[in-house]
């Protein structure tokens, strides 16, 4: 298993390099550089000399391959460059924003798992009944709601009208509630549907028939035979969902003024702070790759048929 994990970690490197290259290439095509973007904002009136100096200082005039070469060399030493905006090392800037994003996405995924999976189970076990229909209507609605609109409505109801929770910001746990709630709806709906489908399929499997033939009560059949078998697939789906949740967190972070990687990404995109953009994206990709690895390792623990040699 250790050998497998190490191999997977090693395989992440080319993917990360490829992503870094891709992002780099995309932003090299940008017609406006950071300096002119700052100037174009209208906030700073910058004359040509200052512009030229900024370009030289940040090496923005060097040919593309030179810049990329420098970048890769820096990556090897875990140096992500300097933020064009704040002059701080990108690693520092990212470091400040990492934990809030982790908090938000983990809270949302945990909620999604805790609420969605049992819902899917119940819907499958009582298939055809009103519980099933109601939960599936809820699930498909959850998949159709625009994320920030949901966030906005939640904010409107709970913060502005009822005043129970703060409407934006970061600090104590009460600030986490609304953003996490909004973010968890989509993965929860998806997990509920997946779980239901998987459980229904397993309920008709041969080994479940054997279990019933043994004289087991339906509840025991579920507990001793159904749950573990379903969890393998559900876990894989949850892992995949994590990636999409990280993406959607961008919207929630912006809406609730949550100081995480997502809002940092959006801000640095509009100011063309390329090093920070690259750093954010790389960070997010690393998150996702790690969560995939975690899911694979967990699956191997649960399912003895999976052999990672």
């Amino acid at each position: 298993m250790t050998a497998y994990v190490l191999r997977r970690l090693w395989q992440m490197v080319p993917i990360l390099l490829a992503v870094a290259l891709l992002i780099f290439v995309i932003f090299s095509v940008v017609p406006g550089t950071f300096a002119s973007a700052t100037a174009a904002d209208g906030r700073n009136v910058v004359d040509a000399q200052v512009l030229e100096r900024m370009n030289r200082e940040f090496g923005l005039n060097d040919p593309v391959h030179v810049r990329f070469g420098k970048y890769v060399a820096q990556l090897a030493t875990f140096d992500l460059g300097i933020s064009l905006r704040s002059r701080e090392p990108v690693t520092v800037v990212l470091g400040q924003r990492l934990w809030p994003t982790l908090q938000l996405t983990l809270a949302a995924m945990l909620l999604a798992l805790a609420l969605g999976v049992p819902l899917g189970f119940v819907a499958a076990l009582k298939s055809g009944g009103w519980v099933d229909s109601l939960s599936m209507v809820f699930a498909i609605s959850g998949l159709s709601v625009p994320l920030f609109w949901l966030g906005l409505m939640l904010m409107y109801l709970f913060a502005l009208v009822l005043g129970w929770l703060p409407s934006f910001g970061y600090g104590d746990p009460s600030h986490l509630v609304l953003p996490a709630l909004a973010l968890c709806v989509f993965p929860m709906a998806l997990l509920a549907r997946t779980t239901r489908a998987v459980v229904l399929e397993i309920l008709h499997a041969d080994f479940v028939r054997t279990a019933r033939a043994k004289g087991m009560s339906e509840m025991r059949v579920v507990r001793w035979h159904l749950v573990r078998n379903a969890m393998v697939i559900v876990l894989t789906m949850a892992g995949l969902q994590f990636g999409s949740v990280i993406g959607q967190a961008v919207v929630i972070e912006k809406l609730f003024a949550w100081p995480g990687l997502g809002s940092l990404l959006v801000d640095s995109v509009s100011t063309r702070d390329i090093p920070v953009v690259q750093g954010c994206i790389l960070c997010i990709v690393i998150f996702f790759l790690f969560s995939n690895l975690l899911v694979d390792v967990l699956s191997a623990r649960i399912d003895p048929r999976i052999k990672y040699t």
């Binding site: 498909i140 998949l143 159709s144 609109w149 906005l152 409505m153 990280i246 994206i281 990709v285």
Partner: protein, 273 residues
Amino acid sequence: MRLTRANLVLGAFLIGAVVIGGVLAPWLAHTDPVMDANLMNAETAPGREFWFGTDGQGRDVYSRVLYGARTSLTVGIVSQLINSVIGVTLGVSSGYWGGWWDDWVSGLTNMMLAIPSLIFALAIMAILSPGITSLLIALGLTNWSYSCRISRAATLSLKGQGFVQAAKMLGYGDVRIMLTQILPNILGPIIVIGTLGMGGAVLAEAALSFLGLGIRPPAPSWGSMLSNAREQITTAPWVAIFPGLAIFFTVLGLNLLGDGLRDLLDPQSKARV
């Protein structure tokens, strides 16, 4: 069976309503969605004159919602079309030919799947000037991985089947086999993925426009209508409610339609979710 039919009917109904709203917008709308902005009417509550109320610039929300349908549907359909074309082409060819081409495409797909699609689209929108064409490019280029994977898997399993072998023996060229033998058999799942993907595209457009990176106001897109809604939420909540509801019903319709189509066209789907 009953559920499939209910899904299809309800989904088709919702989408039909949206399509009619969009297509007939010039006749159904009450005002010009962009030009008729009377600040004196700003932030009027829904009533007899303005069915959905007015926004901060005094524009009729109802008319803007109708015109917004055009944008959202266009984005949904076209971007999904691009996705499907890219995904199917890459998937079928890599599954059929294998070898270095397959390795290359799989590597590319793995890389694509490592980046959350919204973030990728965000990055691309950042370098293109905002607007519908850029949006179509961004969404079209970032969401093809899933249909690629599915096409590839289906091609791999179809490749060894009798009718494909028979076509080979008849001397059919590779491309002809892919087009006439393999493609028709994967059409079902691809249509399902496409329909569900359209819903995703509409949601993505809304998210990107909200972040200021999609369609910018005053163009009447549902997403852009929501981008200012946050500030007005206390004074004029209807500005946010109606476009949001429009998005919700459109995506719901697409999801229902996709579900129904899946039961109809692809009942053995392992991807049943």
